[in-house]
C-alpha cells in the first residue's frame, strides 16, 4: 500500500523528493477535497480501500501553485491572522527584551533571550520557506523544525550547565 503512494509521488515533474507518509500525523479530513486536486488520478475515485484513499487524498505531488487557502493552511486549525498577531506580539516584546539584556543579566534573561530569539527566528524562517522553497521541496519545514528543536535543546543545556548566553556574549566581546 505504501508503494502505491510512492509510485504516485514519483510521477510527473516538479517533485524532487517523495513526501514521506510516515510524517503525516493526522488522519485525513481531506477526503472531502474538491475535484481540482484529483485531476492526476487515473483510477476511479470511489475506491473502497481506505489506505489508498489516504494517499490519494494527500496528493503527494509537489505543487507550484495556485494554492487554495485550505492547501496553504495544511493540517492546523489556527487562523493565519491569529498566528500573524502572535508573531507581532512576540516581536514587540523583543523590542523591550533586547535593550533590557544590556542592563540586566542572569538565568532569567538567558531563558527569555533563548526562547524569544528561537521562536522569532523559527517563525521568520518558516515564512521564508513557505514563500520560496515550499513549492520546490514541500517537506522543507521538517528539517527546519528539527534544527530549531536541536537549537532549543542546545540553549537549554548551555544556560543550565554552562555559562549562559548573556555571560557568553560578554566573554566573546571581551576578546
Amino acid at each position: 500500500m505504501a508503494t502505491i503512494g510512492l509510485l504516485r509521488a514519483c510521477r510527473g515533474k516538479g517533485c524532487l523528493f517523495v513526501k514521506n507518509s510516515m510524517f503525516q500525523q493526522t488522519l485525513p479530513t481531506s477526503l472531502q477535497n474538491s475535484l481540482v486536486t484529483k485531476h492526476f488520478s487515473l483510477t476511479s475515485v470511489a475506491s473502497s480501500n481506505a489506505v489508498v484513499e489516504f494517499f490519494r487524498a494527500r496528493n503527494f505531488r509537489a505543487k507550484r501553485g495556485p494554492f487554495r487557502p485550505e492547501e496553504k493552511r495544511g493540517d492546523h486549525k489556527m487562523m493565519a491572522s491569529t498566528h500573524w498577531k502572535i508573531e507581532r506580539v512576540l516581536a514587540v516584546s523583543m523590542l523591550g527584551v533586547m535593550p533590557a539584556c544590556l542592563f540586566v543579566q542572569g538565568p532569567i534573561m538567558d531563558t527569555l533571550l533563548s526562547i524569544t530569539v528561537l521562536l522569532h527566528g523559527f517563525w521568520g524562517v518558516d515564512g521564508v520557506l513557505t514563500d520560496y522553497l515550499e513549492k520546490f521541496v514541500p517537506w522543507i519545514h521538517y528539517p527546519w523544525y528539527l534544527l530549531t528543536i536541536a537549537g532549543l535543546a542546545g540553549l537549554i543545556y548551555f544556560n543550565y550547565n554552562d555559562v549562559g548566553v548573556c555571560e557568553a556574549i560578554k566573554m566573546v566581546w571581551k576578546l
Binding site: L31, Q32, P66, A91, G121, A150, G151, L152, M171
Partner: protein
C-alpha cells in the same frame, strides 16, 4: 460525490441509496456535479482555482518562459533594505540553533573555546571585524524591525516617509554597530 465516498466508509450505503432515491424521485434532468458541502461562493472559488491550474498546466506544457524580474529592476533603497532585513534575519535564525546544537555535541565547556581563540593570538583587526560581523545583523534587524512594525500599524507607508526612514535606519544601524564594537 465526496460525501458518498465518506458514507461508504462510515454508516454503510444507506446514505448512498437515500441520495439516489432523492435524485430519482425528483426526476432532476441536470446532473449534480457540485460537492454537497460547498456553498455557491466557494464553488466559484473552486472553479477559479481550477481555471488557474489549467492555465499553469498549459504554461508548463508549452514551456513558456517566465518574464524577467530580478534581472530588470534597478536596486532601490526599499527593496535592498528589505532584502537586508531578510538576509540578516535568516543568518541569525540559522546560526543560533546551529551553534547551540554544535556546542551541545562538542566536548569541553564554553570557556575552553574562548581560551582556544585567545591562544590563537589573532590580529586585533580581525577580532574587530568579527565583532562588526556579529553586531551588525542584530542592530540592523532590530532597528529595521521597528520600521516594519510601524508599517504593520499602517504608519509611515507613503514613499517619501519610507525612503527617509530607510536612510535613517541604515545610518542608525551602522552607528549603533560601531558603538557596540568600540565602546562596549
Amino acid at each position: 460525490m465526496a460525501a458518498m465516498i465518506r458514507a461508504s466508509f462510515g454508516k454503510g450505503s444507506a446514505l448512498l441509496t437515500n441520495n439516489a432515491a432523492l435524485l430519482s424521485s425528483r426526476l432532476q434532468p441536470v446532473v449534480v456535479t457540485q460537492l454537497s458541502h460547498t456553498s455557491t461562493r466557494s464553488q466559484t472559488g473552486d472553479i477559479a482555482y481550477k481555471e488557474m491550474e489549467e492555465f499553469w498546466e498549459k504554461n508548463r506544457r508549452l514551456n513558456r518562459p517566465l518574464s524577467p524580474h530580478l534581472r530588470i529592476y534597478n536596486p532601490e533603497l526599499t527593496s535592498m533594505l528589505s532584502l537586508c532585513h531578510r538576509a540578516t534575519g535568516i543568518a541569525m535564525a540559522v546560526t543560533v540553533p546551529f551553534v547551540a546544537a554544535t556546542l551541545l555535541g562538542l566536548p569541553g565547556d564554553f570557556s575552553s573555546y574562548i581560551e582556544y581563540i585567545k591562544d590563537l593570538h589573532l590580529n586585533p583587526a580581525i577580532l574587530t571585524a568579527a565583532k562588526y560581523v556579529l553586531a551588525f545583523p542584530i542592530c540592523y534587524h532590530y532597528i529595521n524591525g521597528i520600521r516594519h512594525l510601524a508599517w504593520d500599524w499602517a504608519i509611515g507607508f507613503d514613499l517619501k516617509t519610507t525612503y527617509q526612514s530607510g536612510y535613517f535606519v541604515m545610518a542608525l544601524a551602522l552607528l549603533v554597530t560601531a558603538g557596540f564594537v568600540h565602546l562596549l
